[in-house]
């Protein structure tokens, strides 16, 4: 089986999982604006399943004849991180950030505190496992309210609680480690720009004490521009990918 076929079969499974997930939510939720939106999304997923199946049949028609040239990955330049500078702000688009976050963990290959603010870490862990990243070196802080997955949980509405959870972990970490925040943009669902900036400043001020680094990942979008512009001066380095 070629790589395209493997990815397509994976895509078909994800689309089916999403379809089933939305179906189960639609059954549980009462009539509302949310239900209407989920029905529309669920119907899109149904169409996506057909598209994925169609693409599989296109690729099947080519058998094993397809050759793939290895593409050069858009790598993040992490040179000097934790030696020359300790805080890094990365701005990227929504379609790349998950791959970039996983790429950072893969490239740095050291202990990590992964702060997952608005997404359940389950999918990030799966993506890391696909990339053969050892999860034992990563401590996940799960801020998805009411989602208990055996990680360290923190209330997204309480920045003090999150910073205390981070500091507790920083004290326990051994060897070189870094904090990866996925994503700082999502903090704006619960917090004002000023509160977010104070939080970043607080965490960055503790990096030297614990001899670690922090990588703040943000989504590059018009709605987040104001916040992103203010984060840049709070970090030692800034990269736009």
């Amino acid at each position: 089986m070629n790589q395209i076929n493997e990815k397509l079969i994976g895509q078909l499974k994800i689309e089916k999982d999403a379809f089933n997930l939305y179906n189960s939510f639609i059954k549980k939720i009462g009539g509302s604006k949310i239900k209407k939106a989920l029905i529309e999304i669920r119907d899109d997923e149904k169409e996506h399943i057909s598209l994925a199946e169609e693409m599989i049949s296109v690729i099947n028609g080519y058998g094993a004849k397809i050759k793939i040239t290895k593409a050069k990955e858009r790598a993040v330049n992490l040179g000097g991180f934790m030696d020359e500078f300790s805080s890094l702000f990365i701005k990227t688009d929504i379609s790349s950030y998950a791959r970039i976050a996983v790429g950072i963990v893969e490239e740095l290959n050291m202990n990590c505190i992964y702060l997952s603010f608005n997404k359940t870490p389950r999918y990030t862990k799966r993506l890391m496992a696909e990339h053969k990243i050892g999860l034992r070196r990563i401590k996940f802080v799960n801020c998805v309210k009411f989602s208990k997955e055996g990680d360290i949980n923190a209330n997204p509405e309480a920045l003090t609680e999150i910073s205390l959870a981070l500091e507790e972990l920083m004290q326990k970490m051994r060897g070189k480690f870094f904090i990866l925040v996925d994503t700082i943009s999502s903090f704006s669902v619960y917090h004002s720009t000023n509160a977010i900036l104070k939080f970043i400043g607080l965490v960055n001020s503790k990096l030297e004490k614990y001899n670690c680094g922090a990588i703040w990942v943000a989504i590059d979008s018009e709605s987040e521009k104001g916040l992103n512009d203010k984060i840049i001066p709070l970090c030692d380095r800034f990269i736009k990918i």
Partner: protein, 72 residues
């Protein structure tokens, strides 16, 4: 359904859209672009993948908006 359950449900939805869905589609697009597929098949595949990516990003935007609404 309680508000806390709605937020949990929407966060789960956002997670599936933003992580496995988008990552897999982006990797797929890269593979197709660098494949020996003929122009016709490549164009067809890229059109479908582009459509899936556009919809998925739209879903993520809608769900993020719903989360913001549920939090308020």
């Amino acid at each position: 359904m309680k508000n806390k359950d709605i937020i949990k449900m929407l966060s789960e939805s956002l997670s599936i859209e933003e992580i496995p869905m988008i990552s897999n589609l982006e990797e797929l697009r890269g593979l197709v672009n660098n494949s020996s597929l003929d122009d016709y098949a490549k164009a067809k595949m890229l059109k479908h993948i582009g459509h899936l990516i556009k919809d998925t990003l739209q879903h993520a935007r809608i769900i993020t908006g719903l989360i913001k609404g549920a939090v308020k």
